[in-house]
Amino acid sequence: MKFTLSWLKNHLDTSASVDAICEALNKVGLEVEGVEDKARTLSAFTIAHVIEAKQHPNADRLRVCMVDTGVGEPVQVVCGAPNARTGMKSVFSPPGTYIPGKDITLGKGVIRGVESNGMLCSAAELELSTDHDGIIDLPDDAPLGASYAQWAGFGDPVIEIAVTPNRADALGIHGIARDLAAAGLGELRHVNVRPVKGAFRCPVSVILDFDVLDRHLCPAFAMRLIRGVRNGPSPDWVQARLKAIGLRPINALVDVTNFMTFAMNRPLHVFDAAKVHGDMVVRRARAGESMVALDGKTYSFSNDHVVICDDRSVESLAGIMGGEASGCSEATTDVLVESALWDPLTTARTGRALGINSDARYRFERGVDPEFCLPGLDLATQMIIDLCGGEASEAVVAGAPPDTSRLIEFPWSEVRRLTGLSLPVPEMKLALTSLGFHVSGTGDRVRVSPPSWRGDIEGKADLVEEIVRIAGLDRVDAIPFPRLVDEVPKPVLTVLQKRTRLAKRTLAARGLVEAVTWSFIARDEAVHFGGGKPELALANPIASDLSDMRPSLLPGLIKAAQRNADRSFGDVALFEVGQVFLGDGEDDQRMAAAAIRRGTARPAGVGRHWDGAGQEISALDAKQDALALLASLGIATGGLQVMPGGPHWMHPGRSATLQFGPKGSVGAFGEIHPRTLKLLDAKGPLVGFEIILDGLPMPKAKPTKMKPRLKLSDFQPVTRDFAFVVDAKTAAGDMVKTAAGADRALISDVSVFDVYEGDKIEAGKKSVALAVTLQSTEKTLTEAEIDAVGGKIVAEMAKRYGASLRG
């Protein structure tokens, strides 16, 4: 919403400066978005007299001018404008002036050997037009030394405010003035609407053709004919105001409607009566009806839209835009002026459906003052007669403005209760009454009746807002917020919240870099990763590749890795801890942790290095990330099963599912399947893991924080090595478990210290070397006892896996 200072002053008697007005606007909640004050920005540009302009001695195209600026001695200026001539008046700027059209600050200069102490300016240099033809040529009577912008009428500052959706009344300058007056910035100038006494009956009647249930679509419609008007350009002062706020003057009749829209938040429509056939009917549009609107475009209507028709066709789209056919032109002599009330919701939906944004729609969908429907017609009639002459008919009124009066029981203490601010009752009462509220009763509780233009006021809290915004929120003191109980704060995070943040730090500490990728991915990607349910597909995605809620973090990470690779950063290790979606129910969202490694981005380090590394990543690096995460989260991994074969987006032979028990899959790790890479347009090698944090076992509640007592053995552990030759497909992890199970009392640890496949052993076989540690808590083991355990291990290995000791 834009307005000019002088226009505001028509409604507000004030001597406040623009700065003070802006401060007050912000204070009352009408946020200032910008002030354009050319009188200020162009204050250095003054009207000057060119005493003499003569040819520059060293340049054909330049003139040397002696300029009388009205202050002090004449100054010498070198000017390149072809129209610079002796005796003219123009606009001068001294050295040090910022020239907006050139984005430079003027300095003193010597041009081709002649000193120049300022500049004579073109309109383009002042950003007043795009006219570069020459310096501004002013009439002889332009006052020497005066501010050019002030003299030329650019002196009316334009203020732009943001109006929140609840403040429809501030979409009229009068409403803004009322707020400012209430805030103490001056006196509101009341608009006196003299009822227009019609000289004759309006020859056109109006029918509201609605079912009982549809009457809210147009509660009231008022209209009158003004005959014998002389339409044409509106006077300069009207045009200047409309132009200043960015509107294009059309003709006086149309300009009056725009003027009333912005001055009084009262949108109107004018029909050329000569082009209206028969009576006016207001009704729902019929499918197939259409209209060429004032913007020159053709709109087709449906039964959801409300229109104004004459005997022949649709003449106006209710509350949004009139039709071109019956629009007013300079030839119009008889004009029908319409002032109506339209349903906000229908207006909003219609405007949205048809894609029309108009000043009328903007106001009707937020709600205009219903009580001002008829006065608005009279005020507009008066303005038309003032500008165009003519004779007004009586008004025809169909329907009636609805009664919106209501009473709110209001204890003054409510202000203190909600804001902590104690204000004297008279001040609170004055704030309300100056905003047009009616306050009845005395004492602690009063009854407040909101004005008709404040449809947003529902209850006590709204009144509190009105009072404090006028009093000023700066008067609300900050009061320390007491703790609920006087004690050291208790922990507030849930297990999952703690695990989520610990997961991030753990993975980062493994050299992975955290990415945050979109929650939505392309449909085919979602389908490939087990998602793509119809209920998780967006109806209005912002892009076709951001259409479906992600079932996994991996596709986003894989594509991110590829983007980095495309920039020559191929050895990346990325992770994300974030939500994945299994369905659209509120329990279908999971917190997942996933990481990927690409190229040589191994946990020990990235890329080639003198220490001999630089190997490509393998699925077991992803396994290490996954298990490190579980360990860091304090998950006991004794019951963790690593089942060969992960989900189908992973390499079938180089991936595994992680589970606690047969149904407790919590995730997977592995190499990314080549088909997955192809789908995501990515290149490997890529490995990764994903774990659903919600699925991990919860910690057991314990009565104390005590750890179990540490039992240390007094006897030395002994270690024996075994190298078994087994079928190449045998799982080393199983062999470790088997070895450990050979004597649970004595065997304290089993590790794999070598795996060999190659030409030194039979094809299809491999050698797995185990180091078995025995630890007795009772005695020093004898060789015989150690050998006995070794024998059991060898026997079990032979039985389970056909293993033989490597010779």
Binding site: N26, K27, E31, P165, L345, A348, L418, T419, G420, L421, G459, K460, A461, D462, V464, E465, L473, V476, D477, I479, P480, F481, R483, L484, P489, K490, V492, L493, K504, R505, A508, A509, G511, V513, E514, V516, W518, S519, P534, A537, L538, A539, N540, I542, M549, L557, R563, N564, R567, F569, L574, G578, Q579, F581, D584, Q589, A604, G605, H609, A613
Partner: protein, 360 residues
Amino acid sequence: MTDIRTLEHDTLAAIAAANDEASLDAVRIAALGKAGSVSGLLKSLGGMAPDERKEQGPLINGLRDRVSAAMALRKQALTDAALNARLASERIDVSLPVREGPEACGRLHPISQVIDEITAIFGDMGFSIAEGPDVETDDLNFTKLNFPEGHPAREMHDTFFFAPDKGGKRKLLRTHTSPVQVRTMLAQQPPIRVICPGRTYRCDSDQTHTPMFHQVEGLVIDKGSHMGHLKWILQEFCKAFFEVRDVTMRFRPSFFPFTEPSVEVDIQCSRKGGEIRFGEGEDWLEILGCGMVHPNVLRNVGIDPDVYQGFAWGMGIDRIAMLKYGMPDLRPFFEADVRWLQHYGFRPLDFPTLAGGLSV
């Protein structure tokens, strides 16, 4: 006597002359071995008359002790020399670059870090962390929050919708974290003190908007909390979060359907050369919206607005991260460019705490 003195002289000379352990050992065997010269003298003591033994004993034992001591001393010197010689030959190139290690190259995203910072501040004030789903119902995202059907405020949200179900109801991606307020009030009796950080979505994309972003919501409901408390909380939060001694805030009346009165908060700052500093300057920067919870919202969740009251606020996590840490543009937050993440990200062990300071 002469013999002993000569022997001592010769043996000590031989010890001193021994240049390695082998020659020193040869001297030892020659002097102290079974058939050694000193051993011979010791043995001869047994055949002496008591008087002679009394005289010769100390001399011979003294000889043995001095030879032994000289031998040990020489041995130590030779061992030291050998070790020094070995060490002198052992060298590595300490200038060789080592791998920087995972702790040095891993990074946390600024959003995660800022959420941890916010959690540290509000956790200390006794706020819990509440969460809710990203896929929300229209009822919780709008209706319960007092957005009437068709209201312009609803349209301002640029909502992502899902297809309608059989009953014609369509779910949506939450446009703000405010539905978590509603969920919290439906699930829990006052007093309530929660913050709700999370992902939010609007179908909007340009220099300063991304279709996905992060917000944190705060909610207090009890029998006495008012706007003065809200002001204090926001002031203290801003001071703690931006790690400045003082901030100047400006509260402007505004409009949100779910608060009444509603307020927008600006923070005073200076902008010099693209750097924003708080607690100084002439510019105002909008950082959050807040207000007293609307009575209709309280009624919608079954709380009596004449008995209970409270306030709520919401701000953009990405936005305050940008303000604090100086990222000029929002879009790279979600592009996963490792160069950006390495630069603007945080080291894994930079855990923000109030005791240690939020940032290093």
